[in-house]
Amino acid sequence: MTAAMPKFSDLDALYSNEEAKVATEMYEDPDLFQEEMEKIFKNTWVWVAHESEFPDKGSFKLSNVGLDPVIVVRDRKGVIHCMVNRCRHRAATVCEVKKGKTSSFQCPYHGWGYGLDGSLRALPYPEQYGDDFDKAQHGLLKLRTESYNGMVFATFKEDIEPLVDFLGPKVCKYIDLFMKQGGGFPVKVLGEHQFTVPMNWKVQLENTTDAYHFPVVHKSFLQSLDEATEDMFDFLDKGRGWVEDLGNGHSVMMMIPEREDLDSGLDEPIEDRFQELAEEIRAEGYSEDQVKKIVKAVGGAGFNLNLFPNVSFSLAFFRVLTPVSVDQTDIRHIAIGMDGGPQAANRMRIRLHEHFQGPMGFGSPDDAEVWERVQRGTKGGGQLPILVNRGMVDEEPGDLGPRGHISAETGMRAAYGMWKRMMVGA
């Protein structure tokens, strides 16, 4: 059989940069989904872990790069490796523990043993493979792995540009700003909420750069806040924020500009909602300068930094998507806090995370509902486009791409533009 022609429409019909219209089959076509897994998820940097999730030599976590289950691990020298979780003999997974510490990975089927760097160390009765069996050729399939400010990315594309170049200086700047919510301590993962939603992965890709939905979908969350906090989240009416295309499909959505840099405004009085926390931190023996810095950091950053194709730094947490099938996507909302910071501060960050995020949060279930409603809605009216053209009317040029109103769909257009470039194979 020769290579089959793709069954889906040509790329211009699927997404038009000029009109910013997305074809319905973008969420519905299983052949297109398979093509995306090859052309996008096997060809770019994909987020796999935060370094604090596997802090020690020999510690590891399971993750995914597109559809491929991978192991991310630190070897005895502290070097981070990422490899496909599949024995080179007969394909069994070599690890089914989600997180842990080990000195090696052993296949449960026939006992092939792999080192922390994925190299094949030993196998029972090797003589039946003959004298020229080369163990060096039978290590776990490795991915290229690089980190920036604690965030670990991996890629199947050996000759891809370095991670920092893919991100670019402006994305790196926003990552650095985001990590200031360590409050002077390293950022540490404190846990994660996981839920799967019957939706195409791109519905999620759009959502993290969608401020327009916030007062509608999250009205019941806003109603549960004190007045000052509710006012802080009123970024659509204030209209001072913006969305900016940062190149390579990445974008930033600046919702609360006064929280862009958490080191600024530290002279201002502590907000009422954090007074009790400030007292607790003082009681733990921190100086007043530290208390102010830590309290400000507890409140989280003021923006969503959306990295193509699978991770968002979202106000106060990491949001990770993993495509499962054309109409199913796994979502992780990863809580972060201060490594070695005051217990009261981390406790409050956890409570704030639980308030909005996850299967029982006051926010995530409503997000999940509308995402599913998109997938259900696209079953009908297949000839109708999905519109991501909001805010094109008054976009201005930014440093790397357009910059629009806080409720503009500029970030979606950035992501779909990258989607198209990668699907073309350029």
Binding site: G191, T196, S220, D330, R347, E354, M360, E369, R376
Partner: protein, 160 residues
């Protein structure tokens, strides 16, 4: 194993079934009244038991319970307007400890939800600390550990 008075088991069972019925009927105001003022409703993730300092699915004191119920009832939360319908059973009830006016009980909880024409099944261990009050009980602590609490879940528009 200590012998538990059959009357205690009957009384506890009746209380847990009453609560389960209240939750299936989503009679949340009545549910709020079942609690002590300083009671905690917790759904943890994984096996850790340091609930205050770990990430849970929920960690609700009286205010959070009230806010949660308010959210369910106000009609502005699309996931709970309408919510999934539920049918649950509480069974395999074991009275673990009685001291003073507190009784510790654990039980199995099976719940089936229905929404959008699809059903999902959940199972978990429920741990209750009940406080004697008047002729009956109040909930002082309720911890529901879903079997797959650290796995991929869905969002919940109801309580366990």
């Amino acid at each position: 194993m200590t012998m538990v008075d059959a009357n205690v088991l009957t009384d506890v069972t009746e209380f847990l079934w009453k609560e389960a019925d209240i939750l299936d009927r989503k009679d949340y105001d009545t549910w709020l009244d079942l609690w002590t003022d300083d009671g905690l409703y917790i759904m943890p993730i994984g096996d850790g038991e340091d609930y205050a300092d770990q990430l849970n699915l929920c960690y609700d004191n009286a205010k959070m319970r009230k806010d949660r119920v308010g959210r369910f009832k106000a009609g502005f939360s699309i996931s709970s307007a309408p919510p999934a319908r539920t049918v649950r059973t509480i069974s395999r009830i074991v009275v673990e400890e009685m001291s003073g006016d507190l009784i510790k009980v654990r039980a199995a909880e099976h719940l089936v939800e229905d929404k959008f024409g699809r059903q999902r099944v959940w199972a978990g261990d429920a741990y209750y600390t009940l406080k004697r009050s008047g002729g009956g009980f109040l909930l002082h602590q309720k911890i529901v550990k879903l079997l797959n609490s650290d796995g991929m879940l869905n969002s919940f528009s109801y309580l366990f």
